[in-house]
Structures are given as structure tokens and as C-alpha cells.
């Protein structure tokens, strides 16, 4: 006998909690797209878990009607790993920010990614610590003046995507909070990926770091500052779609204008499925204003998934040795008494 899943809508995933973000915060948009996506995935509502750390974005689990943890600073990937370890059938989303995920929790993030645990990680990047009122974060640009860098930051910022690709992520993508159609498509791709899916979302903090991503979000401006990645297609951008990215000598990206002997065939064609991460890494290093910044899926490859492998090992161990008993294991020797 099969049980049909009830038809759910975004409203079913709205919790009864009052939203406590600042007016006009980009978090609202991300939350809205997230709630729209979940009912389309064909997964029972009780099989979703949303885990967060600390920060403005980390209030996310309160606002979706799923199971969830508002956990400790930077440790959301570790807690989510535990959940997937014992319940690989659940779909687990990790919500983090540039401070939570890359500073306090950088270590946990890196290890979750390199294990390729089946987690969907959304990193809200607003280049600032918003909850604590405007200190610089690991992604704040050099020269950024904040409460904690009154003379301008002298730290070289981290690129979240470079960290993910360097940790051998199998799915890496970027979108923008207010680009709702694009964001939804990226979230959907991540939801269906087997393994760790890492998504960076550009997001303006309209109180402490307003306009940080205007170049990538404002109509009339963004067209010349971003390039959408599409698998198998050339990298073309510009308001008149007259510019592109070519790979020059030394495997360096180069901005070129189409025409005058340069055709689409001369441009870089995106391949998100290539096993070698060099292309994705090169794209992740393209920064405004020298280059248009890529949005879309940088990398999507297959690799054994940690939680499935773990589950298989446990199943095999039970088949070979029986279900086991914790008390028996504990008293099996190799223990000592502290006096």
C-alpha cells in the first residue's frame, strides 16, 4: 500500500514565529524562496531539518515549519553531520553567514564539505557582522571601515567559493538574495544534489553594509557586472550581451568584446561537470570590478556520499556482528577507573 503525500504549499512551511529581521533585510527574500521550494521536492514535511549557527541569518530555523536547531556559533555543520549520520533519509539544510561559517565555524564548514556529507549549505554573505552591529567579517573587503576597523580593514578577505572548492566541494553555486528566480533555481539544484551542496548568496545588510552588492543586484547596473553560468554555454554578459570571457595565455580569464574577429566560439564555455576543479576555482576568483562576477552553478560532480557510506558500514557491521549493545561495549575492557 502506498501513502500519497499531502499537497503542501509555501504557507505550510511558514512557522507561527514573528520575524525579527530588520525591515528590507535580504533574509526575507531568501526565506520566501526557500519556503516556496520545500513543498515542490516531494519530501514529507517531517523529513526536513534546518540547522543554523549564530547570526542574523541563523534565526532561519524559527521561521520555517520543519524540525530544526538554532545551534551554537559556527557549529551548524557539525550538528547537521550528526543528524545525517544517524538519519541519512532526512534532508538537512545548514544556514550560516560569512562570520558564522567562515570565521568561528570555518573549520567545521571545511570538514563537512570535504567529507561530502549530503548537506545543503546556504551561506548568506553580507560582508559584515550585522547582529552585533557592524564589525568587519572574513569577507569584508580590504579598506572597509567598520566599528572594529575604524581605519579600514587590512585583512585579505576570504572567498567563500574558493574555500568550498579548495575543500573539494561537489556542488558549488552563487546567487543573489533579490534575484528570486535565479535563487530559486539554484536552491532547487542544490536540493537534488547528492553530496554537500554549497551555495553563497550575496545579501545586503541595509543597516550596516548597505549597497555592498548593488553592482550585482541593481537593474541597469548588474548587467555589466555579472555573468550567468550555464553548463555548456559560453560566458557572455553585458547589457547588450556584447562582452565575454576568454581564457588567455597562462590560463587567465580575460574580458573581451564580441566582434572585430572575436566570436562566441573564442569564449570560455562553462563545464560544471569537469572533475578537475581548476575551472571552478578560476571563476570563483573573478571579482568585481576587474571582472564580471559569475552567478550560477560553478561545479556539480559526483563523488561517494559520506552519510550513505557510513550507513552502509553500519549495516554491514550489524549483519556481521549483530546489532551490538552499548553496555557490553562499554564493559568489554580497555577501560580504566580514575581514582
Amino acid at each position: 500500500m502506498t501513502t500519497e503525500l499531502p499537497v503542501l504549499t509555501a504557507k505550510d512551511f511558514a512557522s507561527d514565529q514573528e520575524l525579527r529581521w530588520c525591515p528590507r533585510c535580504g533574509d526575507y527574500s531568501i526565506l520566501a524562496q526557500f519556503k516556496k521550494l520545500l513543498p515542490t521536492l516531494g519530501i514529507p514535511q517531517e523529513n526536513f531539518v534546518v540547522v543554523s549557527g549564530i547570526g542574523c541569518s541563523s534565526r532561519f530555523p524559527y521561521y520555517v515549519d520543519t524540525y530544526g536547531f538554532h545551534s551554537i556559533h559556527g557549529r551548524a555543520p557539525a550538528i547537521a553531520t550528526g543528524i545525517k549520520g544517524v538519519r541519512p533519509d532526512l534532508q538537512v539544510w545548514v544556514i550560516t553567514g560569512d562570520g558564522d561559517g567562515l570565521s568561528i565555524g570555518g573549520n567545521h564548514l571545511m570538514h563537512a564539505i570535504r567529507r561530502n556529507i549530503n548537506l545543503k549549505i546556504i551561506l548568506f554573505n553580507n560582508q559584515i557582522y550585522g547582529l552585533t552591529k557592524g564589525q568587519y567579517s572574513p569577507t569584508s573587503p580590504v579598506g572597509k571601515r567598520t566599528k572594529s576597523t575604524p581605519m579600514g580593514s587590512i585583512d585579505n578577505p576570504l572567498s567563500p567559493l574558493s574555500v568550498a572548492i579548495g575543500s573539494e566541494a561537489t556542488f558549488v553555486a552563487r546567487s543573489v538574495d533579490v534575484d528570486t528566480k535565479h535563487l530559486t533555481s539554484i536552491l532547487e539544484r542544490a536540493a537534488h544534489h547528492q553530496g554537500t551542496a554549497f551555495i553563497e548568496v550575496y545579501q545586503d545588510c541595509n543597516v550596516f553594509n548597505s549597497g555592498a552588492f548593488y553592482y550585482a543586484s541593481k537593474k541597469g547596473v548588474k548587467e555589466n557586472n555579472i555573468v550567468y553560468l550555464e553548463h555548456g554555454k559560453p560566458l557572455i554578459y553585458g547589457a547588450d550581451r556584447d562582452k565575454g570571457i576568454r581564457v588567455s595565455e597562462g590560463n587567465r580569464p580575460e574580458v573581451v568584446e564580441l566582434g572585430n574577429g572575436i566570436s562566441e566560439d573564442d569564449l570560455l564555455f562553462h563545464d560544471e561537470q569537469t572533475p578537475e576543479p581548476s575551472l571552478a576555482f578560476m571563476l570563483a576568483r573573478m571579482r568585481h570590478p576587474e571582472f564580471p562576477e559569475p552567478l550560477g552553478v560553478f561545479r556539480s560532480v559526483d563523488r561517494p556520499v559520506y552519510d550513505l557510506a557510513l550507513d552502509q558500514q553500519v549495516t554491514e557491521a550489524i549483519e556481521q556482528k549483530g546489532p551490538g549493545d552499548l553496555d557490553t561495549l562499554f564493559s568489554s575492557g580497555d577501560t580504566w577507573t580514575v581514582e
Binding site: P23, R59, S210, G211
Partner: protein, 173 residues
């Protein structure tokens, strides 16, 4: 976020007071209506005054005369392309010329604050307040998407906005 019971200053977003454990979730971290309104409203509602500008090669004496005649606290310094290159404020006058008036013939560009912090019409009033607090500014140039100056807002404009909003909220309470 101050605990209403013990007064401990918790970080924003805490659900329980770190000192006494009292629940804080019912407190609104983004403040009341007045505080929310400065996040919700963009700088455009302040109707930024058209900028009064001066070239960097103009003498300081001309800048002071214009500021005095027009009763403004600052001039935006723009180059021949109308690009913003600096801001010259009454603070610059007080700090640099009150004791030595012999330099009044020197060009404005030598004494302006170069590359000033700017805001756009779409930024929130809360962000403008934050930028003023961070840099200790009383004036902020408003620029368009090409970074050309379109106006100036002062802390006085924000004060007026808050006074009006406060009166509105009191009258509807």
C-alpha cells in the same frame, strides 16, 4: 538588547538573558516603530537638498563665502566631469583657518576631505545614521549609480524625520 529584568546588555537575537535567564524572545530586537521606520524608509524620503558644489581649484575664501551666503554646512567638491572628489565642511573651516586666515586664498582641494563616504537614495536612513556615527560626519553626499552627486543630507534632516515620525506615532498611540 537590555534585559528588562536585570538590565544586562545581551547581544542582539539572544532568546534568554545571559545573566539571569529571563526569556527575551518576546522583545523586538529591531526596536519599536520608530526604530523600524529608519530601516524601512530610504534616504529619498528626506528629500536631499540639491548639492552646492565648488571646484577643487577655487580659493577657500570663495567656499566660505558661498557657505555663509547659502547658509549650508558643506560644499561638495567636484572636478570638471562633475565627479565627486571631496567634501569641504564648516568643520574644515573651524579646524584649519580660524587661527590662520592668511591661507584663505589657497585652493579648496588642499583642505577638503577627499573621497568622502557617500550614500544612495535607496539606502536606508538607518544606514546613513550608521555611516555618520562611524565616521563622525554631519553631512553625507547622496550620489547616483554613476557616483555623481545628486544631493546632500545632514544629521539635521534625520533629526527632523525622527521628530515627525515620533509625533505621528504619539498621535496614533
Amino acid at each position: 538588547m537590555l534585559c528588562p529584568d536585570c538590565g544586562f546588555d545581551n547581544i542582539q537575537g539572544m532568546d534568554h538573558c545571559e545573566a539571569c535567564g529571563q526569556p527575551l524572545a518576546t522583545l523586538d530586537p529591531s526596536g519599536g516603530e520608530l526604530e523600524q521606520s529608519i530601516s524601512r524608509h530610504a534616504i529619498g524620503v528626506l528629500c536631499p537638498k540639491p548639492p552646492l558644489t565648488i571646484g577643487p581649484q577655487q580659493p577657500v575664501s570663495a567656499a566660505i563665502e558661498t557657505m555663509s551666503q547659502q547658509n549650508v554646512g558643506c560644499l561638495l567638491v567636484v572636478d570638471d566631469n562633475s565627479d565627486l572628489v571631496g567634501i569641504f565642511t564648516e568643520r574644515d573651516v573651524l579646524n584649519r583657518f580660524s587661527s590662520d586666515r592668511s591661507r584663505l586664498a589657497a585652493p579648496v582641494g588642499d583642505f577638503m576631505t577627499p573621497a568622502p563616504v557617500t550614500v544612495s537614495q535607496d539606502d536606508s536612513i538607518a544606514y546613513a545614521l550608521h555611516a555618520m556615527d562611524l565616521g563622525g560626519y554631519r553631512h553625507l553626499p547622496v550620489v547616483d549609480q554613476d557616483d555623481r552627486p545628486t544631493g546632500v543630507i545632514s544629521v539635521r534632516d534625520i533629526l527632523s524625520f525622527l521628530c515627525i515620525r515620533f509625533a505621528e506615532l504619539r498621535s496614533t498611540a
